[in-house]
Structures are given as structure tokens and as C-alpha cells.
């Protein structure tokens, strides 16, 4: 076999592995994907919730905007997103799930882009179908896109809030996942939490 074929093979394989490595860093800072399960209470540290369905790992999410890719920081620094494809009910009774992003500053607009196998009320951010124990919202895709004004970009902490998963019938907060957007060295904690599949 000629050397050039081996080189071609190895080169593209190496590029692919490098893309995998780059993906790992991007996955922690751009459009972070995370899992959601109820009822987990306040997720103050990495945890694995066990119950009616599969074990679900969750942790507080800290996104360091300075850890994002060069292209993102160069071309579109003021937009950052979060995403989930997984909302599970690990409890013992059916829950009508309502979502809320807590503590969003009024000048940071957040777009909700939701696609789901359950009907979703965009006004109240509530799934109209109850989620039964052990079940998950089918074919779910939720992206939250944060529009960060330029004057926030130098702040050490840009957003300090979280995702509340609420029982729509009782108003009780079943799970709270803290979410923080920080700005590089100005913050004390490294990027943690979240994954991309």
C-alpha cells in the first residue's frame, strides 16, 4: 500500500478525532445540552437522580463565555444558548411540567425554541400533557437563546439564575438547576456541567 494512502487515511482520521476534542470543549461553553429530571429539588452539586426511570445526571451549569470557540467569540459573541432534549419524571405521580428561567435580567431577552411530542403552551411554557412516572417528553428539543447586551459582556457574572421545573397544577418547584454565565478569568469557577449528547 502506498504511503500517500496511509497518510490520507491517518490525516482525515486525526482531523476527525481533533474535531471530537474540539467538540468536548465547545460542548461546555456553547449551546450546552443538559438533562432534566423531576423531582430533584435544588441541584446544588453534581448528582445522579434515581427513581421511576433511568438514572439522570444533573449538575449546576456554569458557562464561561471566554471558553467558547474562536469563531463564536469573533462572529456572534452576544448570543449564547442552552438546550435540552431530555425531561424525565422519576417521581411517583404524573406531573404537568411547567418551565421557567429564573432571575433573567430584564434587558437580556431569551428566545424559547420548543419542539415536542407533547403539546406545549408557549405563553406559559407548560406542557399540556402530564408526564407519567418513568416517562420523558418525546421528541423534545428546547433551545434557549440569550441575547446579551454589549454592556454586559465585560461583567464577571452575566447571568446568575437557573431553570425551574414546576408542577403546573400546584405551582411547586420540583427541580431547580442553577445556571450561570460568567466571563473568563473574572469568575472563580471553571466551566462545568452539561454535555452534548
Amino acid at each position: 500500500m502506498k504511503t500517500k494512502y496511509i497518510l490520507g487515511f491517518v490525516l482525515v482520521m486525526a482531523i476527525t478525532l481533533s474535531l471530537g476534542a474540539y467538540s468536548a470543549t465547545l460542548g461546555k461553553s456553547e449551546l450546552v445540552h443538559f438533562w432534566v429530571a423531576v423531582p430533584a429539588g435544588n441541584v446544588t452539586a453534581p448528582m445522579v437522580l434515581r427513581g421511576a426511570g433511568p438514572p439522570i445526571s444533573m449538575s449546576p451549569i456554569v458557562i464561561d463565555l471566554q471558553s467558547r470557540g474562536v469563531l463564536k467569540n469573533l462572529l456572534q459573541p452576544q448570543l449564547e444558548g442552552l438546550s435540552t432534549h431530555w425531561i424525565y419524571n422519576l417521581g411517583k405521580k404524573p406531573v404537568k411540567v411547567k418551565l421557567n428561567l429564573a432571575n433573567v435580567p430584564p434587558d437580556i431577552a431569551v428566545d424559547w425554541e420548543v419542539n415536542s411530542g407533547f403539546e406545549f403552551d408557549a405563553a406559559t411554557h407548560t406542557f399540556k400533557t402530564p408526564l407519567y412516572p418513568g416517562g420523558s417528553v418525546p421528541n423534545l428539543g428546547i433551545d434557549w437563546v440569550f441575547h446579551i447586551p454589549a454592556y454586559y459582556m465585560d461583567e464577571p457574572v452575566i447571568y446568575d439564575g437557573g431553570l425551574e421545573v414546576i408542577d403546573a397544577d400546584t405551582g411547586a418547584v420540583l427541580t431547580f438547576i442553577p445556571i450561570k454565565f460568567v466571563n473568563g478569568a473574572a469568575s472563580s469557577s471553571a466551566t462545568q456541567g452539561g454535555s452534548c449528547h
Binding site: G8, L19, G20, S23, A24, E30, V70, L75, N115, S195
Partner: protein, 291 residues
């Protein structure tokens, strides 16, 4: 062959590209919508609903349960495409795939001189690179899936997704401008490689298909197997060949070898060579080659 001639000779394939767009890309996604309707799924189908990569990632990452879960349709589609390639060649890639169709169409529509476009004439080199990607893709899926390097590596399925970029543009085209609002670095890289480098600056516009599509790579292997078994394929008849190399110029997948035979792992049965030269014949039905 001028552009008008190309358009007329390949009209059925270009019509098929449009059909593929309507079948898989939202807001139409008619194929997926029909399946969702039958199974009672109320989700809004998009090109993502038939991801060309994730089921392959699940298999090699040990997530077999995902194949039988709520995403069974995605898995059935991908395995259907691969299995059909045994009998029909990589027809999905050549005739229906919206991702390949768009980059090929853009490549043909934008008149960039050939000297600025990359083409590898050595099919073995193209093949080595294509399967270098596939092995890398499988390695990443396994290393991440089995948690052998899940801190160092991330899945490349969703992070670098040309389907997602295409779907976002299509959604924006049909009124949902928010679809192209957010760009992550991986999507920008995908856009650059799929449409700019792989589309505009690679001859034939199929750079993404050649070097970054695991479904295409598996379909190519399935087609090679099918052709060996005598199924649907294009054959070169050396006695009718005058060595003009027109076939090499028109093949968007760089699948024509130096001796003008076809490298099956690259061929998508687009029939561009059949239309360009009488030395190529389509073999339908099960027929073992004479030589």
C-alpha cells in the same frame, strides 16, 4: 457539456433533489410527517428527525437501547438507507439527500473556474480519506459512548451538523428567521466545510458527502457489496471508451478510476457518467458482470 445540457440530461435527478427536499426538510418534511401521523407523534418533523449520523453513533457507542426507543424511526431510516444501497446503490445519496443536493447545486450554479476547485483523481486516495473519517467517527463514538475518553472527546454528531445548518436556512427561507439567529462554532465550521470548501471549492460540490458523512461511507460499502453480488450498478465498457476523461470531469463523487472503472465505495449512481459517455451502462436487476 454546458450548463443547459447538463440540466436537461440530468433532469430526473434534479427533480428528485427537489422531491428529496420536500420529503425531508421542514416546513414540509412530508415523508417524516406521514410516518409521524401514522404513529401518532405530534412533534413537528424537521430534517433532524431523520438524522444521518446519530443511529450510527449509538451503535458504535454502545447505546443500543436508543435504536429501539422513541427515536426508532431515525434508526430505521438510516439502516433502511444502508440496506437499500446493496440493491439500488447509494441512491439516497445521489438522488434524494438534501444535504448533498444543496452543496452540489450550489457548486454547479456558481461559476468558479475549475483551476480553483480541488479534485482528487486518485480514487484510492479519496477512498482512504473517506474511510479515515469513518474510522475516526467510529472511534469518537466508541470512546465517548463507553466513557473511555468522555472528558477529552465530545460527540461530533450534533456539533458539526450540515443537516442542522440546512434545516435552519430552510426554516428561515420559509419565514422563521429565528432559525438562523444562533450560531455555535461547530455550525460555522460545518457551514464552511459543507458549502464553501466542500461545495464551492471542490469539484462536483460533494466534499461533505465524500469526507464527512458516515451514512454515505456505509452506503458506499453496501453498494460495493451489492455490486459484487450483481445488483444495480453502473459498468464501464472499455471497448466503447476513447479515453477522453469526460467521465472523470462530470463525476461529482470523484469515483472514476484512472482505468475508467468505477470505485463503488464512492459511486452514488447519479448516472452523470452514463449521460456523458456511451462507455457507461446501467445494470438493472441482478446480473453478474462478464469480466
Amino acid at each position: 457539456m454546458n450548463a443547459k445540457e447538463t440540466l436537461i440530461r440530468n433532469r430526473w435527478r434534479y427533480i428528485s433533489f427537489v422531491v428529496g427536499f420536500f420529503l425531508f426538510v421542514a416546513p414540509f418534511a412530508l415523508f417524516t410527517r406521514a410516518v409521524y401521523l401514522i404513529v401518532g407523534n405530534t412533534a413537528e418533523p424537521t430534517l433532524h428527525s431523520v438524522c444521518f449520523r446519530m443511529p450510527i453513533d449509538w451503535i458504535f457507542g454502545g447505546r443500543f437501547y436508543s435504536i429501539f426507543g422513541s427515536s426508532w424511526f431515525m434508526a430505521a431510516f438510516v439502516f433502511g438507507v444502508i440496506i437499500s444501497s446493496i440493491f439500488l446503490g447509494a441512491a439516497f445519496c445521489g438522488w434524494l439527500c438534501p444535504v448533498g443536493a444543496v452543496s452540489e447545486a450550489i457548486s454547479r450554479a456558481v461559476p468558479i473556474p475549475n483551476k480553483f476547485r480541488l479534485r482528487i483523481r486518485d480514487t484510492k486516495l479519496t477512498m482512504s480519506m473517506r474511510y479515515g473519517f469513518l474510522v475516526g467517527f467510529i472511534a469518537v463514538a466508541a470512546l465517548v459512548g463507553y466513557k473511555l475518553a468522555s472528558d477529552q472527546l465530545g460527540s461530533i454528531c450534533c456539533r458539526y451538523c450540515a443537516s442542522s445548518v440546512l434545516q435552519n436556512f430552510a426554516s428561515a427561507l420559509f419565514g422563521d428567521l429565528s432559525a438562523i439567529e444562533y450560531w455555535q462554532s461547530g455550525a460555522i465550521i460545518s457551514l464552511l466545510f459543507w458549502l464553501v470548501i466542500g461545495g464551492l471549492f471542490m469539484s462536483g460540490g460533494r466534499g461533505w458527502c465524500l469526507f464527512f458523512c458516515p451514512l454515505g461511507a456505509f452506503s458506499g460499502l453496501a453498494h460495493k457489496l451489492g455490486a459484487r453480488l450483481g445488483f444495480y450498478r453502473i459498468e464501464h465498457k472499455p471497448e466503447s471508451c476513447n479515453g477522453c476523461n469526460k467521465c472523470q470531469d462530470v463525476c461529482p463523487m470523484w469515483a472514476i478510476k484512472e482505468d475508467h472503472n468505477i470505485e463503488r465505495t464512492l459511486c452514488v449512481n447519479c448516472k452523470e457518467c452514463v449521460h456523458a459517455c456511451d462507455a457507461y451502462k446501467l445494470i438493472r436487476g441482478r446480473k453478474i458482470a462478464d469480466s
